[in-house]
Symmetry: C2
Subunit: 318 residues, 2 copies
């Protein structure tokens, strides 16, 4: 009988699910629904999973990539931003009760790292760090071919490294974190603040529609100095943090993903300069590669698939 992995990727807007034969990286089915609806999101997720289980086969495992802090050992979501009701949700248990097969859940950025390591830009690297810069900053770390989880599974929160003590307020309520300086909203808020100081720019503050990092990126590509300064500032702090990360993990690869990383040279050149400037020894950048992510929008599903593979053949130390 054919065996399959059923995987899902839960986002604030959509839930996607896919069915993969256990020996393939090509799905037989992919489906997408809205995360929000009349019934609770976890019921919508379970119905979606149910709808893609093939009738001709056996399910080897179900895995789910979910946003927010979670306990991957117990399979509990502590808090999923933008998904009402997902607070201390025992998702693993709920899915396991319904389908009676091995189930695992993982933080989406952690699983993106696992997906890139197994199927994407990170193939062949034993030590890598993945950082995604968009509305927030998520990360995942592979050490010696293992996903870094920590004692409760809350490790690799690289967006909450303090880069500017007493700096801007972060979404988490603390000050000066990388996410409060380099995320998309942080870039837009910094530009608004400069505009209020009277700094000239093609951008302006509108009462109807707050500025976005995309607006800033477009203005920068048309040569606007304030927009370029904003991306350079964000890129520089990301570069300083990547230098810290090289000193902490000594990886052979750092993978950058997320919308902000697509802002081009105005962001990436200052980031690369800051890495070179702040690294304490050339040995950290010998044989080191900095690259962009490879799996694009598929990274969530492919990360969940990589997790399913580790379930099926657990690594000896886990």
């Amino acid at each position: 009988m054919l065996t399959y992995y059923i995987v899902a990727d839960v986002g604030g807007t959509h839930i996607r699910a896919a069915c993969f034969p256990t020996d393939s990286q090509v799905p037989t089915t992919v489906k997408r629904i809205s995360t929000k609806g009349k019934d609770p999101a976890h019921e919508r997720l379970i119905n979606l999973l149910d709808s893609i289980i093939p009738i001709d086969g056996k399910v080897a495992a179900i895995t789910v990539a979910a946003p927010g802090p979670l306990d991957p050992y117990e399979g509990i979501l502590f808090e999923a931003p933008n998904i009402p009701g997902w607070t201390n949700l025992p998702l693993k248990e709920l899915v396991q009760e319904k389908f009676n097969v091995p189930v695992a859940i993982g933080n989406d950025a952690n699983l993106a790292a696992l997906g890139e390591w197994r199927f994407g830009a990170g193939i062949g690297h034993r030590h890598l760090v993945y950082i995604t810069v968009s509305t927030g900053i998520g990360a995942g770390v592979i050490i010696d071919n293992q996903l870094l989880l920590g004692v409760h599974g809350l490790a690799a929160e690289l967006g909450h490294i303090t880069v500017l003590p007493d700096g801007p307020l972060c979404g988490c309520g603390k000050r000066g974190h990388l996410e409060a300086v380099t995320s998309g909203p942080a870039i837009a808020r910094w530009v608004e603040q400069e505009l209020r100081q009277g700094i000239p720019s093609s951008l302006s503050i509108s009462m109807n529609k707050p500025l976005t990092a995309k607006d800033v990126s477009q203005a920068a590509s048309q040569g606007d100095k304030l927009a370029k300064d904003a991306l350079a500032r964000a890129g520089t702090y990301l570069g300083i943090t990547i230098a810290d990360i090289l000193h902490v993990f000594n990886p052979s690869l750092v993978i950058i993903g997320g919308g902000v990383s697509r802002s081009g040279d105005a962001f990436l050149v200052p980031m690369r300069e800051a890495i070179s400037e702040h690294v304490i020894s050339k040995k950290y950048i010998e044989g080191f590669t900095l690259t962009t992510c490879n799996l694009g929008d598929e990274v969530g599903l492919m990360g969940a698939l990589a997790l399913a593979h580790t379930l099926d053949a657990p690594a000896p130390c886990q």
Copy 2:
């Protein structure tokens, strides 16, 4: 026949070596010599090792804890501060050629983490971080019962995390690292700078003898406000970095060692306050312990002994 581990701990002033039966943590012999002398330090080390090998037994392994950046896979010391001639020194090869037994070397702070995990304050913890604060700041990290090394063995340089961009110059030549703010010399330099600004204190700048962190610590214990402010400042930045470390590694234990950590509450209370203030979720401090090191001056030898144990019975993932 009895079998033994021969271990050594190389410092800037002394080299110590010890002989342990493979089934014991109590050495049969411990010897100490000066690091500096007429002959090169590695010859002094090899002669010392030779002098403690017992005549009645077999040597199972020789391990050496050494200062400075090194490649633990190849056994090469890149640069040992304060030891002339120890630049790109293939120490593992030299020792192996002489004694023809398994040899391993490790960075002293890395091995201190391994020693505390195996024999000291870290027993039973799968995920721990060790930080030593003295003339410099060294660290070692245990993840899932494995020492974090990275691709070239240069990981866990937590002293070179940037805590104050554009802050004081670090020994490595870069600015604003934790070591440039919280190490003993950094504390003393900050006090001197404040004294030059006319801040009142029982301490004063002498032309003959630069201030030390010990002077500052003593003045603080006698109630001197500037000295207390200096230790509070250093403790606060260490606390912010420990909060970062909790977000990065989610360990169940952080062990603090080194002379500065013995400055008492003037240092430790602000450090603990900064951790509580900067951690993004209480989940990071649930079941978390912050403690001081347990092995004292023996940590180097016990770390080298722990390394010898991993050689003899390698962990399945290494």
